[in-house]
């Protein structure tokens, strides 16, 4: 049985491999339909972000005074804004901004969190204590308030948004990685590795890190959604991604009363795009949590 499978595997040509992958995906979709929906939304957003220049109908920055506030229809699928810019094109380009901010800020916070939390937990309280006290103080702020203060200081621009979100989410990530490392460290194989004379770096990299990947993936997925939301909030307030660059947040901003009377679709569609994307990450994150890390199930 075992050998038969092995031989099948080794002989598999590209189409067969594709079939196998298709089967894996179908099985995943059957077992976790909600997560599959989430993954689909994320893939759609990624495609929109990567291929934005090919997909869009018109330049998202092009001001066209002859077609101001065209309602959604054949001309402009989702209408045009106060400057005559095509809303759909702007939403597609907005996916770029949102995903760029989310992915890079979470990658940074994950790296910093893993270093601070992991190294602190591994080397014990002399290093851990001061790090954790700083993290405590950083978590005493509402995350949006700290992000706002950082943006106030750094000034509104795209990479500062990335930096602010990365700083805000580092302590939360560090906390989770730290508890995972503490649990792994208590295992005998870590002790055994030390007994045979492995270096600290080797133990951390070969024995501890692989066993902390699951909680890291879960926290990163959930935080990706939160990061998109925070980027939107910052841009909405006007301290995030500055106009005219389209961001889902700054597209919702504007004179709410005027929009209500003239063009209620203007804030509606970017908000839907943002909500769906966050929903996608939430659904996927929940399923990953169930599959990878049952301890985190109740939050």
């Amino acid at each position: 049985m075992q050998s038969e499978q092995m031989s099948l595997l080794s002989k598999s040509s590209p189409p067969v491999l594709l079939m196998r992958w298709a089967r894996v995906i179908v099985r995943f979709a059957r077992a976790k339909p909600l997560a599959a929906v989430g993954a689909l939304i994320i893939v759609a957003a990624l495609v929109a972000a990567i291929f934005a220049p090919i997909i869009v109908l018109s330049d998202p920055l092009k001001v066209d005074t002859s077609r101001i506030l065209v309602p959604p229809g054949r001309d402009a699928p989702l209408g045009t804004d106060f400057l005559g810019r095509d809303v759909l094109s702007r939403i597609i380009y907005g996916a770029r901004i949102s995903l760029y901010v989310a992915v890079s800020s979470i990658a940074i916070s994950l790296t910093a969190g893993a270093l601070l939390g992991g190294v602190g937990a591994y080397f014990g309280s002399r290093i851990d204590m001061p790090i954790q006290r700083v993290m405590d103080a950083m978590m005493a702020f509402p995350s949006l308030v700290l992000a706002l203060a950082l943006m106030a200081s750094l000034g509104p621009n795209l990479n500062n948004v990335v930096a602010a979100i990365a700083i805000v989410y580092t302590p939360r990530t560090a906390r989770i990685i730290r508890s995972a490392v503490l649990a792994v460290k208590a295992n005998q194989y870590t002790e055994a590795a030390r007994a045979v004379g492995c270096s600290h770096v080797r133990i951390l990299w070969r024995h501890i890190a692989p066993n902390c990947v699951a909680p890291a993936i879960v926290i990163a997925t959930v935080n990706l959604g939160v990061a998109i939301s925070i980027e939107g909030s910052l841009s909405f307030i006007g301290v995030g991604v500055p106009p005219p660059t389209p961001s889902w947040g700054n597209m919702v901003a504007g004179a709410a009363i005027e929009m209500a009377q003239k063009a209620p679709y203007l804030p509606l569609f970017p908000g839907i795009a943002l909500t769906l994307t966050v929903l996608g990450f939430n659904l996927l994150g929940d399923a990953l949590r169930d599959m990878l890390d049952p301890r985190l199930r109740t939050r």
Partner: protein
């Protein structure tokens, strides 16, 4: 109990020192410095002369070394002197005493509305697990978790304008002067802000309730022939509430972040609006002060949650040991 509260209050001091140090450092990473930013104005259109810069630095105390600046600031806050606003010249503490009650009112009203809606919804969902209604409630809930506050707020205000001919009020009436007008002004932002929290709390109530309903003592209660209301309210709900109360406490921090957004959308003159105005005008004494007050609020809420915990679960005692 009393000793416990005192001990917790004493522990506020190091955390607040850490908080103030972080915010102090954050405000010092401004490119250029606050004096330059103040003189140059929002778009950098102001003319900055060397003399003006020097006087402004002198006035803001920026010519002193950093440690000295930090100690001055902290010592001031310890005496409730948060400095004066750079733009309005009003003492920040005076501003805070006027604005803080409004933000607390909005936050508490939101928390009350959210809890009042979420707990019955979550309980209902748990009691009718996997029925169509449960699915509908769960879908509404997961959307509430994903929809950002600023979008919900904008949609709320647009719906009010479009369908109810609502006009945003010009001034803000405090709850003491004119409770009814105040209620009308604050109820919609509270409802809009509440949606997200209904979603979070209802989800937790549902899962916690499902767990409790499977316990032996609930089965015993049913077996005794108690009426449904007794079993649910007295036996199941009270025990299912423990994680929910913790969650409401944790959520309060998120909620305060949300008040910032709602206050700016609905022009409510609370702390959040002060913070955003401070940021827009680059008024860094206001920003610093507001952020520290926000952190203090969260510390107090965490303490209250712990006390509520002891009240809900008599097994937890803080008086002894």
């Amino acid at each position: 109990m009393f000793a416990y509260v005192i001990r917790r209050l004493v522990l506020f001091v190091p955390v607040l020192l850490g908080v103030s140090l972080i915010i102090f450092l954050v405000m010092r990473i401004v490119p250029g410095d606050a004096a330059y930013a103040t003189l140059a104005g929002r778009g950098g259109e102001g003319i900055v002369t060397k003399e003006a810069l020097a006087t402004m630095r002198q006035r803001l105390g920026l010519n002193k070394p950093y440690p000295q600046q930090y100690l001055d600031w902290v010592w001031g806050m310890a005496r409730l002197d948060f400095g004066t606003s750079l733009t309005t010249r009003v003492p920040v503490w005076q501003e805070v005493t006027q604005r803080l009650p409004i933000t607390i009112e909005l936050a508490v009203l939101t928390a009350l509305i959210a809890t009042a809606v979420a707990v019955p919804v979550g309980t209902f969902s748990a009691l009718h697990q996997d029925t169509p209604l449960d699915y509908i409630l769960r879908i509404v809930t997961i959307i509430g978790l994903a929809a950002p506050t600023f979008w919900i707020g904008t949609l709320t205000i647009m719906a009010l304008v479009r369908y109810f001919d609502w006009i945003p009020p010009l001034g803000f009436s405090s709850v003491l002067d004119d409770p009814w007008t105040n209620f009308q002004q604050i109820i919609w932002p509270a409802v809009g802000l509440g949606y997200h929290h209904v979603a979070v709390i209802a989800r937790m109530t549902r899962s916690s309730m499902l767990e409790v309903l499977r316990q032996e003592y609930v089965r015993t209660a049913w077996a005794k022939g108690l009426r449904q209301r007794m079993v649910i309210n007295r036996h199941a709900l009270r025990n299912a509430m423990m994680p929910v109360v913790t969650l409401i406490g944790v959520q309060f921090a998120v909620l305060l972040g949300g008040t910032v957004i709602m206050e700016s959308i609905f022009s409510i003159p609370g702390m959040g609006r002060a913070l955003i105005e401070g940021i827009q005008l680059r008024d860094y004494t206001v920003v610093q002060g507001c952020v520290v007050i926000f952190a203090l609020l969260i510390l107090i809420v965490n303490l209250l949650v712990d006390l509520l915990y002891a009240w809900l679960d008599p097994r937890i005692g803080y008086g002894t040991s």
